[in-house]
């Protein structure tokens, strides 16, 4: 007689394959977790090495990897790109937990000193003979890659962000302003005159704004000063440095006069703004030209480049560092040497726009005479060489990035009409005090 139980038993058999499958899946998941390590070491004809390169934007390295593979068939290169702030925060986290850092990590100049102050987390590049490169570099760029006491070489520079101002010729024409780059430069020897030009622009053009947003302008003005957010003793001087306050006031003038398109840099609407021509000028460290070209593909020939108001300064630029957790420091060091070599910096500049940190190139005829059709054949080689040569380097502190975010939020509050500049400033000062 079939009891309910015995009947149920028959169904129960089904449970066995289900559970076996589950055990299998668990085991597979475990493999999935470990597969990365096996991929690194296992298989292949020769011992194949995979190097990961962590960046925070397009560095224009892709063609260089291709070339590197030709001479190093055993090396596979994987690039990972993360958003700017996330990239640097992740690196802090991964260094602290000793897991997850890439073999080669890019660090922007705003964050470099927070990493050079923990030299035990990185390899000394001198071990791999890279101190031979010292002669190539701008001295200040070289210094930024050294540990605090100067004894160890932690990072090699990629690019420098000499300043210029990019502008839309068609919009300038519409506003009745000159469009020739020399004439445009004459409009704004100072930032005050830049703002006045903006007012004239706004009086005549209604469907576009003068500037994308004040955030990057602030950074540029501060960077033109001899002392910026930090003094030489690594003390934050935001509240006391008159240059910072001056930059703050000037940047807010843009918001208060309705000259800003209110598009935070590197956000999706900002990208769209490029495509639509929502703003007429944007501060243009050399690396910015690459972004413009990428985002405003349809606007070839409409953009041009003029001298920046207020004299020369540096905004941005990066170093490549070698975290100690990497398994292939030797190969990675060689890759760093390759990616930052003189020839490759020149090549990346021509293709991508990031400007070399190797002064010998500034007099190189191929750089000097380099123009780009996208920017109306502007002599960008000459413009950025001049900008880089006259640069006065500024001391940058360990929490430069955090301070910048605090000030940027303050500018945003004024821009969005949430606070008066004074209220916003008081809050910025209080926020900055909390940064440890």
């Amino acid at each position: 007689m079939a009891t309910p139980y015995s009947q149920a038993r028959r169904f129960g058999r089904l449970a066995v394959p289900v559970l076996t499958a589950s055990a299998l899946a668990l085991a597979l998941a475990a493999c999935g977790g470990g597969s990365q390590q096996t991929a690194d070491t296992g298989g292949g004809t020769a011992e194949k090495v995979t190097l990961s390169v962590a960046l925070f934007g397009d560095f224009g390295f892709k063609p260089l990897y291709e070339e590197y593979r030709k001479t190093h068939p055993d090396v596979e290169i994987v690039e990972r790109v993360t958003q700017f702030n996330d990239h640097h925060n992740n690196l802090v986290k991964r260094l602290a937990t000793n897991a997850g850092a890439a073999d080669v990590e890019a660090v922007e100049v705003g964050y470099i000193s927070s990493f050079t102050s923990q030299p035990d987390k990185f390899h000394d590049l001198k071990q791999y003979g890279l101190d031979k490169r010292q002669g190539d570099y701008l001295d200040w760029k070289w210094q930024q890659g050294l540990s605090k006491n100067g004894s160890r070489l932690l990072g090699l520079g990629t690019d420098v962000g000499g300043l210029a101002m990019c502008y839309r010729k068609d919009l300038f024409e519409k506003a009745g302003l000159p469009t020739d780059r020399e004439k445009v430069a004459e409009l704004w020897p100072t930032w005050e005159q830049y703002i006045d030009t903006g007012k004239k622009f706004a009086a005549n053009v209604k469907d576009a704004k003068f500037v994308d947003s004040p955030g990057e302008i602030f950074r540029a003005i501060v960077n033109q000063a001899p002392v910026g957010l930090y003094d030489a003793q690594d003390q934050i001087v935001v509240a006391t440095n008159p240059e910072v306050k001056k930059a703050w006031d000037l940047s807010n003038q843009l918001s208060l006069n309705g000259l800003s398109a209110k598009l935070a840099a590197f956000s999706p609407p900002w990208n769209t703004g490029f495509a639509k021509g929502s703003f007429a000028t944007i501060i243009c460290p050399a690396w910015m030209t690459g972004y413009i070209q990428e985002q405003a593909k349809d606007a070839a020939g409409k953009w041009d480049i003029a001298k920046v108001p207020g004299g020369s300064g540096n905004s941005g630029g990066s170093h490549l560092l070698l975290p100690k957790q990497g398994k292939h420091p030797e190969e990675a060091a060689e890759l760093i040497d390759f990616l930052t070599s003189k020839d490759n910096q020149a090549r990346v500049f021509k293709e991508e726009g990031t400007f070399p940190s190797i002064p010998a190139l500034y007099d190189d005829p191929s750089i000097q005479s380099f123009t780009k059709p996208f920017f109306g054949d502007a002599p960008i080689g000459k413009i950025y060489s001049d900008a880089a040569r006259t640069l006065k380097p500024q001391h940058l502190g360990p929490k430069e990035g955090d301070v910048r975010v605090a000030v940027g939020d303050g500018l945003g509050r004024v821009e969005q009409g949430k606070q008066t500049p004074d209220e916003a400033w008081a809050q910025v000062v209080a926020d900055v005090e909390k940064i440890k």
Binding site: T97, A264, S267
Partner: protein
């Protein structure tokens, strides 16, 4: 059968084993849950409390005991209270209409209809969509200059709403994302409960001439009260922990201030504030204190809502 009647000496042993089986096996069956929960639920809870009593950052190896100082700082921290306000505001804006809508949808579906399965499946589609996708899409829809929603609003003469900039508008935008994701899911849970309500009740009510709405109020809602209480409690807990939406909205909307929820922290929720403290400032001690207070808020909010819905449900009886 599996077991044959055994010989007499074996019998005692079997009885003992049987008694043990009855007594102990239930504990063995619930043990995996409690063991894993202790390891990954209770331990972090206690450890967070421990960390919150220290000055503890990711980058430093020294952890100084400072007692309740972090909690003291927290009580005077304007950003913390701002985040608390935002959390409750977004919580109410997203949860209340969502539940009303879900009950109403379930009510609509709780009758013979063509294409039942089709409607039910479409209701669950938003819930299958990942939160990254939801926010990327909605940030685009809520775009200031070229968003679809502003485009449609412009037909009515409303131009260029900067959704991410305003406190109220950003809360609305984020609440819409949350509602979109969860309304259908909750509607199905309500529908399941509604289908257990005896048909005769409705038939009798129809004979008595009760309107559709009256039937919903007088029969359906009281009958599915336990489910409502459950859904309200779970939704409250979920709403208190909103993180991905404001985080991704900050990145996608171009308003600036990504981890701070806008430059004026206009849409920074508690969870996002904790994330900001813990994973961008790496101030684990302070972040732990904040998350413990947040935990207390969750318990209070869930408790209050539990009591409220019990009351409300009672009122319909």
């Amino acid at each position: 059968m599996a077991t044959l009647p055994a010989a007499v000496p074996g019998r005692r042993r079997r009885l003992v084993r049987h008694a043990l089986d009855l007594k102990l096996s239930p504990y063995a069956y619930v043990a995996p849950f409690f063991l894993l929960f202790c390891a990954f639920g209770v331990f972090p809870l206690i450890f967070t409390a421990w960390v919150s009593l220290h000055e503890w950052t990711l980058t430093s190896d020294t952890h100084t005991f400072i007692g309740v100082e972090n909690f003291g700082t927290l009580l005077g921290d304007g950003y913390f209270w701002n985040a608390t306000f935002n959390t409750f505001s977004i919580g109410v804006l997203s949860t209340a209409p969502q539940l009303v809508l879900a009950i109403w949808l379930a009510h609509l579906l709780n009758r013979p209809l063509r294409a039942q399965t089709f409607f039910r499946i479409t209701l669950l589609v938003p819930n299958v969509t990942s939160v990254v996708a939801v926010v990327v899409i909605f940030s685009q829809l809520f775009g200031r200059d070229y968003g679809l929603i502003n485009w449609m609003l412009s037909w009515f003469g409303i131009e260029g709403v900067a959704w991410a900039e305003g406190t109220a508008t950003s809360h609305v935008a984020i609440s819409v994302m949350i509602m979109w994701r969860w309304t259908g899911y909750n509607a199905l849970i309500f529908l399941a409960a509604m289908q257990a309500v005896p048909r005769e009740l409705y038939e009798a009510a129809t004979i008595d001439g009760a309107s559709n709405l009256t039937q919903l109020k007088k029969i359906t809602i009281p009958m599915i009260r336990p489910t409502i209480i459950f859904v309200v409690t779970v939704s409250t807990i979920g709403a208190m922990q909103i993180l991905a939406e404001p985080l991704l909205f900050g990145a996608g909307s171009g308003a600036g201030g990504i981890t701070s929820g806008g430059p004026d922290r206009q849409f920074q929720t508690l969870a996002l504030y904790v994330y900001d403290l813990g994973f961008t400032k790496f101030d684990f001690g302070y972040a732990s204190a904040a998350s413990w207070v947040m935990f207390l808020f969750v318990v209070v909010a869930a408790g209050v809502n539990y009591l409220l819905t019990r009351r409300l449900g009672g009122a319909f009886k």
